[in-house]
Symmetry: C2
DNA sequence: CATCTATATAGCCATATGGCTATGGAATCA
DNA sequence: TGATTCCATAGCCATATGGCTATATAGATG
């Protein structure tokens, strides 16, 4: 039931800067300087965001000389998507049941 | 690009208690006392969680005498699901491109 | 070696979050 | 009316979060 990683994933997704970073990384690997570029934020602030994303398992880092290029890890994202999907299934079934129930009532009258 | 509601939705989903409450509400309307029942948490704490969920647009409240039954609103959840899905599309396309690229390279050798 | 580039880390600050207790208010019920 | 039930609100506390500046470290380069 409980899932600290899922907690961390949703929390990571709750910030617009981090979502933008993920969107950028969906296009391919990028260095910190590159990721920093679109934002009016300091470099340490970006590094902090990257740490949050890494903690959530959403990205991982490599190394290329002084650079620490980040790339996506899609699995954590999938866990989040799965939770919502399972939720939606349950929700949909509920309406199916309601539909059947209403149909039954209609039949009975 | 920015979306305060999406921020709020993901933030709301990042807490296990709130996800459990949503799962319960997927089964149908429930009062605060009913929602409280599975948890070792005080009533005001549950009310606070409900407020967070309501702020995120994930639930809404009705009234029945002293009771304040809550029910789901699926739309906000859908926004979150949509964001992830659009993300995944982009991500998948990237691999498609990579596949094509590799195929091209292979052809050329 | 000296320096420059790329990034991380430390530490500060203000605000948000998640828990609690205490209290208040509205309906119901005796 | 008075007590009880259901819930909200206020206020406190500890910790987390998101921003910053200043500084440290690692690798490249003159």
């Amino acid at each position: 039931m409980e899932s600290p990683l899922l907690d961390a994933t949703f929390a990571a997704l709750s910030d617009p800067t981090r979502r933008a970073i993920l969107a950028r990384l969906a296009l391919g690997e990028a260095t910190v300087s590159e990721l920093m570029q679109p934002f009016a934020l300091s470099q340490p602030t970006i590094s902090k965001h990257l740490k949050v994303l890494e903690y959530a398992g959403l990205i991982e880092g490599g190394r290329d000389a002084q650079r620490r290029p980040r790339r996506l890890r899609a699995e954590a994202m999938k866990d989040a998507a799965d939770w919502i999907e399972r939720f939606r299934d349950q929700w949909d079934r509920r309406f199916d049941n309601l539909d059947r129930h209403l149909a039954t009532i209609k039949k009975e009258t």
